[in-house]
Symmetry: C4
Subunit: 274 residues, 4 copies
Amino acid sequence: MSLDSIRERWWKIVFESDTPAGKAFDVLLLVAIVLSVLTVFLESIVRLEIKYGAYFHTLEWIFTALFTIEYLLRLWLARKPLRYATSFFGIVDLLAVLPTYISLILPGTHYLLTIRVLRVIRVFRVFKLVDHLKESRIILEALRASRMKITVFLTAVLLLVVFIGSLLYVVEAGSNSGFDSIPRSMYWAIVTLTTVGYGDISPATPLGQFLAAVVMVLGYAIIAVPTGIVSVAMSQATHQATTTRVCTHCMAEDHRDSAEFCYHCGTRLPDRGN
Amino acid sequence: MSLDSIRERWWKIVFESDTPAGKAFDVLLLVAIVLSVLTVFLESIVRLEIKYGAYFHTLEWIFTALFTIEYLLRLWLARKPLRYATSFFGIVDLLAVLPTYISLILPGTHYLLTIRVLRVIRVFRVFKLVDHLKESRIILEALRASRMKITVFLTAVLLLVVFIGSLLYVVEAGSNSGFDSIPRSMYWAIVTLTTVGYGDISPATPLGQFLAAVVMVLGYAIIAVPTGIVSVAMSQATHQATTTRVCTHCMAEDHRDSAEFCYHCGTRLPDRGN
Amino acid sequence: MSLDSIRERWWKIVFESDTPAGKAFDVLLLVAIVLSVLTVFLESIVRLEIKYGAYFHTLEWIFTALFTIEYLLRLWLARKPLRYATSFFGIVDLLAVLPTYISLILPGTHYLLTIRVLRVIRVFRVFKLVDHLKESRIILEALRASRMKITVFLTAVLLLVVFIGSLLYVVEAGSNSGFDSIPRSMYWAIVTLTTVGYGDISPATPLGQFLAAVVMVLGYAIIAVPTGIVSVAMSQATHQATTTRVCTHCMAEDHRDSAEFCYHCGTRLPDRGN
Amino acid sequence: MSLDSIRERWWKIVFESDTPAGKAFDVLLLVAIVLSVLTVFLESIVRLEIKYGAYFHTLEWIFTALFTIEYLLRLWLARKPLRYATSFFGIVDLLAVLPTYISLILPGTHYLLTIRVLRVIRVFRVFKLVDHLKESRIILEALRASRMKITVFLTAVLLLVVFIGSLLYVVEAGSNSGFDSIPRSMYWAIVTLTTVGYGDISPATPLGQFLAAVVMVLGYAIIAVPTGIVSVAMSQATHQATTTRVCTHCMAEDHRDSAEFCYHCGTRLPDRGN
């Protein structure tokens, strides 16, 4: 068996997922990614880090070793290694292992290690299958179609936030209720307009509370806008995804997928194309 | 009157609800379920438990006795007692009485008793009637049709939460504002993205507040996605809401309200009754 | 001028609003209602009550006198005084003046006086005009059409709240975070599911926070259901309210109100009926 | 080169944006506006004001000088200077520079300076281009079409707020939970109905919490109404989105994308360009 046919076989396993071996590789990779991200999660809990820190570090090195082997394998298999190394996923694959090695040289860079969370992006590598699903296509299509409208809407919201923020800053000045700068007031305006409402900052003066009430009702009303935009786009994307058979006799539309005869005039419907 | 005809009559009363006696049984059962659940609610309030604990325990045993009789009745009436005992509702019926008996043997298992709240599921037994209503059919149909899209959407939200959580954990580190581990940060991210906004954790640094504002606007925008998905599905489910007419020629069912010819064999459909 | 014609003229002024005098009466009544409700609002602010209490009481008696005169006038004008007195608005009109008189006899009934706020209902009397507006008709039509679906949805939400409330009560028991009874836990479940999120009660244990996150995402997803229901109903109600002219030649629909020719084949459209 | 042709050339630069110079002017103006607003933001942060106050004041005077030159330029270029000075943007342009000059005469008017934030409105001057975008036309069209319905809806919400506010004021009286006047209770009602939920005021009595839960579920359900209104209007506005084709015979505009014949005179429309 030649080296080339071995490369060819491994290529099918590592980069594709049509063969059983390729599917198994993808599933194993998915499990490893999820477990390594969970390890980062648990490591960030101080109480657990103190108790089980040693285990976490061992696990971390095991995952790093696995991902390093995988990275070198991909580099070797790729027809154009440089293009792979500089591609989006090539960089993500490198970022998945680099932080652990850097921590050997610079021991203090604790927060740099959270870059390891970026490994989650690698999940998308496995989800390339999902990408082809009709469902995600329709959602993405709807979002793409409403891209411009959402941008216009968010710009209008931003300008509104600047006004409301400045207004409340002036109104609540001196009441010691947290509106101590315009940026903070704008933060409050966003918290309120989006109906999140933490309560870490809330108006204390009657006028401030009145204006806040107006802002809330406004936020309540304008949430209808993005919803309307996406609903319409979703409706169109869904409609374009359904069959569009028309009765040859009476021109009735909206036939079911399973229909063989027109529900309006009873004429036999044309065969489906696919 | 033979035992068989008595069983037949009781079967009609206990398992069906077409006869007046069957309806009366269902209504009584509903009342008993609701009252027994309310008793559990009141019992959980310490102040009331101290005062009226004895009454609650008496009531509890009365309901347990009633439900035990009902359970034995169902076991006796069921054509295949074992199949009933292992069915979903069979287990729920058993869980409705078991905790009270266990409390005799293991007196300390206070929290085990909250399993009694599961009795609420038994309400669905009575609602089997409602199940046939056109309204709940349309809602369920819409949810079923958008199942896949909602899953894709929630997966995307989950990945977003992982990123935002990790990011805020790094940004807010050392500011003592509650972001002390990645899982807690992710909890905060969900609280914010869904616009719940408790305020038990909220960013204290300017950069953290800026990122929080971005997350809120994001959450405000993406709530449009599930709404759009369900609206479209609801629209289609409503549009395709079907009558109970059956084709006289090929027995095909599920014709639309507006259909005049059978979609399966092209025969003219009978006129609508109303 | 006979008494009957005076009654007739006053009837037109007080009960109808087609004449200029009738309109003026309605506007004056609206102003009086709004001002009297505002007085109740201001009276409830302790600081203002102490300072301007005397003025408020004077105003209160002026409004009571006005509404009493109006009530007697209506009693006198009504063709069937008893039917008016026992009608919905008759009772509301009486409730608008009674509390002030009762306060003479029972001086301590401070909170009884807030019944005066019910005067706001009287605003609807003036809004009977608005009632005929196409807009409110469409909204009410949509709500009426989705009545059953909303009920089914709210029942499902209620059962969900019972489960979540009981679950969190067990999980958060002993963590002193406010989940000290099932009803309080259910209150928290509603606060969270509806994305209100006060933060007066919020889970403290990791498991509790995890479950809370699940509840939030659930609430985020199911808000799409009522929105979808009402959107569809609103769409149908709006569609039924628009003109339904059809081109006599090519059967194209959806012509604009102002269109005179078919946009599809150029044939002159039929005249509008109204 | 005559003064008139210089004025003509500058007119094209300052008031229009079709020439490269005009575009460059618009971009520079946009940058200056954004930077001057950011300066106001930073100035409002006490900590930064203390440190870098001098820099901020220098920047402020530079921006004021630039905007003054621009204002005088516009006054000189405008064919009718008085009409420009009294137009909406004329006043906004003046308000953008006036506060800084007034601060020389009245040094204490700190809050007057926040009027400078109004400069943000000037951004719209540059966005006059955006105004022609199909996307913002559709959104505005949808909002205009649902204007009346939203008003009816908000009126109903307002009346609901009055009732709920008064009710909770009575129920929570004496529980020291913040419901100390009807206006404050109404503020709470809005905070809750809109699902903002600060938590600065939240009911403490069981009855109050029960009523609050009802209000939340209500708010959860009625948010569907504006969403439904705008979705339907957005759907219609999108459907009726018009091309810029003009009928060659009667000059009628606003034909639909799908139209083949003029809706006004029935003449065949020219083919679409793309």
